[in-house]
Subunit: 350 residues, 2 copies
């Protein structure tokens, strides 16, 4: 790694790409002056767009890629023939050591498939996970998996607990993070076998962080633990349900202020405080899901985000590089007793 | 059924029972003058409490039960030796035709186990489900299952779609309800085999209501469909995550009004409108989960609710009886081609 951090950007991924990527890079380089970018995609288009962003060009190198991964493209198809896509090329720059991390707002399944193929898994990790963090009553909570692995074994869940703990500790700076397994009740008898076995393993093994047992859906927004571990199906549904509910309540609040003459007057007085609340709970502030468990930093931005949101995702990648999230994860995995993680993982990773 | 509707109440179930049950009955009988109650539990205690609720005694008959189901009691234990409990006796009055429905705020697992044993399943239904409804941007959405059946086959999910549709149509009065299967994406290739097979069955079979395909977590609070079908694990997590998120945003809003001098002034003006919003989104207004698929009406109240919330759950039971939810479900199931539902269900139910 040079003194400067280099982030590869899939310039063609996202609903409003390449605009959000190029403009997002320009926002991010003002926030992080020690960062430069490799912009991967249609070189001509990107170069023209960079020229229109004042001050960006000296922070940027363009890497041409003639092809694009479409939002509906099947990962299996892309894995076979997608080497010319901007997504693949951007991931490849990390593998080749030209970049320290990659950020894409493109097709999640394809991104995960290419990243697993090109970057490979971290030694000792069987299944990578998608992790994200969001605001709670007490700060921020990390949740994983959000959709990489729909049906999890107990070993997968234990891996996620380890990865989530390392992320919370090193990147979010939480000392001795608490970890909970998402279930439908706190009693030890609840849930399926994988959950019960994972809980038993997490109680038995001497892991970093503090395993507190099972938590329930309402504990996520309450911030009851720093790390919520769950399978990819449940995590994906829970995250989207929380996002949708936040939207619903915000719509109710807006409606309430329009409800009567007096409420409208009230809004005039309270507006500044509500503007602050809006900016604090702006989903663009929480954009950027990490793929954890890969031998390289790969961050997925929401496909529908704008330049500000894309810059946030770039910030997540920068933090992951700066705080050495993957190096810590390697150290932690190596410090575990052999055989604690998935039996197959050693063979798979080598 | 007599002209009056009779609702059996498990007087000893719930964190603050029997108070919430007796006081809740008195609120409910004012809202529904055509209803009378069987109060099951400690006769002496209940009789004394009824005497303190003005006007209640003529609407009430007390059914003595010496025993209580504790919140931590295992369903398997209660099923073997719980015949003397208030919960069992209250369900038994429905089986014996003395009551039209039963409401309990007690231990969910025990309630479901006794109800399945005593009331039996409706003919043609393999697995009963827990269903509830909650506010959305467009009205109300029914979701099931919320925890009766953690791992669902495609046939279970099809059954839930049928039961949810009948409930939305007959009890909520929604014409031609739309039905969605909860998944992590709308594409037909997403999700596990049970989900994909259930979607295929629901597209193939000519069911009442309109099956729209897969929906995602954010579609629940958005009210994208009238009925959301999912397995009990996912449904339970999604419901609790939504409840927790609503609480979180409401806490943020309260905090925002206290944030500055001007915001406090704003609150004075907007207070009336916000009081209305609070009463509209009061969780007590959405208390009462139905056990669907049983040969009898059984409603589960939240254990931590108060008398007002318990009265709402009584209202759900009354609606289920009044609008003939179970009779409609029977008719609908009988109208299906034989063999469409679980192959084993015919044998099981007979």
């Amino acid at each position: 790694m040079s003194d400067k951090i280099t982030i590869a950007l899939d310039a063609m991924g996202g609903d409003d790409a390449p605009h959000i990527v190029v403009a997002g890079a320009n926002i991010a380089r003002r926030r992080h002056p020690d960062v430069r970018f490799l912009l991967c995609g249609d070189a001509e288009d990107i170069t023209a767009r960079v020229a229109r962003q004042r001050g960006l060009d000296e922070f940027v190198e363009v890497v041409h890629a003639p092809d694009i991964v479409g939002p509906e493209d099947k990962p299996s198809k892309i894995v076979r023939g997608g080497q010319e896509t901007s997504m693949w090329r951007s991931i490849k720059t990390v593998k080749d050591g030209r970049a320290d991390a990659v950020v894409s707002a493109g097709n999640t399944g394809a991104l995960l498939a290419i990243a697993m193929l090109v970057l490979k898994r971290l030694e000792g990790i069987d299944r990578p996970a998608i992790a994200s963090f969001f605001p709670t009553l007490r700060g921020e909570t990390v949740m994983l998996d959000l959709g990489a692995n729909l049906r999890c074994t107990e070993r997968n869940l234990v891996e996620y607990a380890i990865m989530g703990e390392v992320f919370a500790r090193t990147v979010l700076g939480i000392e001795n993070p608490t970890i909970g397994l998402l279930n439908i009740g706190e009693e030890q008898t609840k849930g399926n076998d994988a959950l019960k076995d994972a809980a038993q393993l997490l109680r038995d093994i001497d892991l970093p962080g503090e395993f507190v047992g099972f938590v329930e859906g309402n504990d996520i927004p309450a911030g009851a633990v720093d790390v919520v571990v769950t399978d990819g199906f449940t995590g994906n549904v829970a995250l989207k349900t929380a996002e949708g509910t936040a939207k619903l309540i915000n719509a109710f609040v807006r409606e309430t202020f329009r409800n009567s003459f007096w409420a409208k007057i009230g809004y005039i007085f309270a507006k500044r405080s509500f503007d602050k609340l809006r900016s604090r709970s702006d989903p663009r502030r929480y954009n950027g899901a990490m793929f954890l468990g890969l031998d390289g930093v790969c961050v997925k931005s929401h496909g529908g985000t704008d330049a500000v949101g894309f810059a946030t995702a770039i910030g997540v990648a920068i933090d992951m590089v700066k705080y050495g999230g993957n190096a810590s994860l390697k150290t932690t995995v190596e410090s575990l007793e052999p055989g604690i993680l998935s039996p197959q993982s050693a063979a798979v990773a080598s």
